[in-house]
Point group: D2
Amino acid sequence: MTGTLRVGIIGTGVMGSDHARNLARGVRGAALVAIADAAVDRARALAAELGVEQVFSDGTEMIGSGQVDAVIIAVPDPFHAAGVEACLDAGLPVLCEKPLAPTVAETVRIIKKEDTLGHRLLTVGFMRRFDPSYQAMRARLAAGSEGALLMTHSCHRNVEAYPGQDSSATITNSAVHEIDVLPWLAGSPITQVQWLSGRPSSLIGERIDPQMLLMRAADGVLHTVEVQVHAQYGYDVRCELVCERGSIEMPSVPSLVGADEYIVSAKLARQAAYPADWRPRFAAAYRAELAAWAEASLAGRLPAEAATGRDALRATIVADALVRSMNEGGAVVQVPSVESVLGEDA
Amino acid sequence: MTGTLRVGIIGTGVMGSDHARNLARGVRGAALVAIADAAVDRARALAAELGVEQVFSDGTEMIGSGQVDAVIIAVPDPFHAAGVEACLDAGLPVLCEKPLAPTVAETVRIIKKEDTLGHRLLTVGFMRRFDPSYQAMRARLAAGSEGALLMTHSCHRNVEAYPGQDSSATITNSAVHEIDVLPWLAGSPITQVQWLSGRPSSLIGERIDPQMLLMRAADGVLHTVEVQVHAQYGYDVRCELVCERGSIEMPSVPSLVGADEYIVSAKLARQAAYPADWRPRFAAAYRAELAAWAEASLAGRLPAEAATGRDALRATIVADALVRSMNEGGAVVQVPSVESVLGEDA
Amino acid sequence: MTGTLRVGIIGTGVMGSDHARNLARGVRGAALVAIADAAVDRARALAAELGVEQVFSDGTEMIGSGQVDAVIIAVPDPFHAAGVEACLDAGLPVLCEKPLAPTVAETVRIIKKEDTLGHRLLTVGFMRRFDPSYQAMRARLAAGSEGALLMTHSCHRNVEAYPGQDSSATITNSAVHEIDVLPWLAGSPITQVQWLSGRPSSLIGERIDPQMLLMRAADGVLHTVEVQVHAQYGYDVRCELVCERGSIEMPSVPSLVGADEYIVSAKLARQAAYPADWRPRFAAAYRAELAAWAEASLAGRLPAEAATGRDALRATIVADALVRSMNEGGAVVQVPSVESVLGEDA
Amino acid sequence: MTGTLRVGIIGTGVMGSDHARNLARGVRGAALVAIADAAVDRARALAAELGVEQVFSDGTEMIGSGQVDAVIIAVPDPFHAAGVEACLDAGLPVLCEKPLAPTVAETVRIIKKEDTLGHRLLTVGFMRRFDPSYQAMRARLAAGSEGALLMTHSCHRNVEAYPGQDSSATITNSAVHEIDVLPWLAGSPITQVQWLSGRPSSLIGERIDPQMLLMRAADGVLHTVEVQVHAQYGYDVRCELVCERGSIEMPSVPSLVGADEYIVSAKLARQAAYPADWRPRFAAAYRAELAAWAEASLAGRLPAEAATGRDALRATIVADALVRSMNEGGAVVQVPSVESVLGEDA
């Protein structure tokens, strides 16, 4: 494949629309040529906004149309697996929003299908791996001047919980980003986890919030992750890497978000703004992810840093173990390896 | 007692000398009139430096001399109990450096002795209760605009471990400050604890460092405390109070230390200094503690915010439970109440 | 013109290469199709790197080739005018790096030529107008919650002076960015200026550094601008808008640069990195400028916020007045209006 | 004189009461023994609050009473000179609030009187010299790692203008602190000044606010000082020392004030508090000033870093020159030397 990658997007919710707009704004070597959504009016409206000519009401039809070279899947989570499998069957590179699939069984099935192809087509959208801050921290850690990593501390706070979700969604939907990115930063898989609750906020009675997740890596590093989905005050993601001779910290978000890069002094306070959701915070990451995926897809390979199917399975296994710990009242739970889950143990 | 409180200090190590110099620098209503140390030459040198006339080689002798109205005990930990008991016997207000005593048994014995007196004489030197930052955070939390407290996160990092201490000293010597101050901030006693290690630093093989302490309060609040006694990079104490509608954070230390309140831009970096040990960080707290203790002692009462014998016992019980968790490989350990330990249960 | 804007770049120095790489990385609606440079080997190397097929040794030839729809001029300053005029003659939209021309006379000549065309083709590359921080500060100021603007303070510091430049280049080359962006932020033209020196650095004897520039706007606002071209410590641009009821500040650079978004604690210091030059600091601005210019060029208009020929003339007139103040030992100098310079006064 | 310095305070307004409370809180070697104020009820109330036994309605009477060893003068500015002269006549060490006197003539008269005594008794209360930040910045500058000082930038902002003052009071009352402390930091006297207005705030029509003061030192360093007496947003003092190889900055105030050392995240903002006036910001400076003055007075000398009569004269001369520049529409005004004003030129 040379020239321009013709990209089709399935799903026009928040993430699908954001990907579509990012592509329309210009990604080297890629052009958004088709949009599919069962809510075809919404697909048509987005296509009109972005000057995209082809609209499909059925993603599978788009995949088989011969009009697209690569596909982004941004439909609701339960439909991810079917979309990905259709792409694999059609031999198209596919970027699937996380999670790859809600269950380990489906995830394994997708991985095994990809394995039979003989080459890699699947990328999973854990975009933090493309965030400039996480990348810079990872490079600094690897440079070694602070010595070996010993512990990490993360916070992940959203302004408001999505209605209708339960306590486990905090893990599988929000914390899953840390579950993916921390081992990627630290270079060692999670082998043991433990779940703890904070004192539950009275503002969302039906869901335990905040939660505290402990994850032990194979090399002994301890990751602590606080997740608060109803933190009210702002969208705030923090991360600190505690090393033998120093510490590497991500600044709290106000310094990073594009829309509000200033400080206001007024009414006896010095103030910096938090974003209301994750999009300003990770806008650069999403753009970089798309660019790397388009470039790699054109070259017939996967983007180097991106999460593969096995990475997504690893995150799902850890999240499942944390949910089990939660259901068992905070028990320490061992995490099976990806290899054992796939039946690939020696 | 009116006029001036004649204070005697027993012990001229780091803390004793600091208290002596603070008194000599001027504390309302108090005058340092006597210094005692078995190392009498050291006591004499300090007395000469500060213009103090009376020097004793034996603290007990000083207590019985009739020359002092109140006593500060800053001898090595194993000798605290004897000094405190001598003061109680003599009817003198006493400010004892933490820990009150190394064991629960001795601590209980002191408390029972004080109980028999019919009035309070004993204050324990948990100075963070007098730190302006902790006090301001406590007041802000109490004001309630951020809603109920849900979780706290603390870090306590020293530059270098003291030689000759073992892993439990990290809890009983360093973390004990958080063990005291967090329930004081949050208003609810610790009922359950769990100890975890980080990946141990290779720079001090004989001692597990860093450590992660989890403490659950009676009202459900979860306290996480990371302690690193050999952090190398600087003395750094952090604390965040995570509430229902917002978060209250202590700034990292550079902004607080008196000696280095500036930022230097040089060599492609913008830099603020960390102190090398706890003294610049808590200088204001030590001075405020002395002033409150002197004022209260003159008035025949205890300082309102200061730690009592029962507070010290509470901290020791929690520290003991954490050491037990450590010895049991990270087990969840229930913390007995002060009342049950003292046999005061209904 | 519909579809894709075919862009040609003339000049492959630092700025030309950066623009070329930004275009190659993907700008909506634009494709880099030609590169011209008298140093044709350098042009060929860049074209090869970026997959651009057409290379010219002569920019004028490229302009007349019919192969490009729009042109970026990034040759050395003395050749800007000729390149721009060739574009105007050819009816091509042109983005010219600042300064539009070294002298007022040439600048006026270009403006008058464009005026005769009947439509606008010329954009001048004052990229700070596209920087997210300056844009956000401008929007905040316009929102009015801090009241009227009274004064501004800016700093503009480079690590090392370019060799071979004199003291006036500090104004015409570096400070010219503030000279353009401050009236754009504040909404009122500069009418009076005064130049002052700091104590000259001994590290670059031949050039007065730092310098302090005072600019008074028509509405009375006073702008103070400190420029230090040999500041050594890092590339640092600051700006504060002092208003009646509050202040709006751009954070110092470490918090903004993409490459180093972390804080390191090590060796008794807490450190954030400065960039070594302006490119990381203004990378987002350059990308946004290109995108706005491409979109506007496709639509047959100028980008709304960008600097026009008249804006460039305004900056040149102010810079000239500051150079005159410098040459007259710090005299207060009146700034003629653009209209009077163009002979357009009523 | 040995033992305790018996201090009397004349004046029980804001500053007098603050000094009295600081003394009562404990200053080594000093005891507040007498309070004088023509408003004798106010003096009596303060004396009762602080346990001070002697109250005078007439300061001169207190000076002559034999009951005090040293005097603090905190009466309204026009009465400073008379109080100081009475102390000099009585041979008592005196700490006079700034300004020493409203006019150069009175200031000179006081200095000449002190000169005739044969020893020094007079200290003027420019307390910033005792502020830990200014002291640390001065020490860092002197250490030389950032190279020679080239320029300084200061801001001095108050929440609200005092009613009834005119534009010159901004210089003589507020900026006079910078006029004193900057040459003390930088080590070279001011020889030339220039006054500029910002665009005047509409919130206090009768007074030009903010103002911009430029001061050139004998060694070429340029000091820029922005003063805004009606800044509304908070009490904020800033200072940056721009050097050849780096910059030394005082952090903006929130990080320094004792009462509010925390950061609150709430309502989409991260906030640190400004104090409402100068007292929290300079509380440590006032205490250190008193301690140094008491110690020196006991030893029969002046405190090493404090401002002398000649220092106060120097500040008055510079302030007068700035007022003249203001009255002459921003003219550059030469500053006579202290020696020439005193007629001491060779």
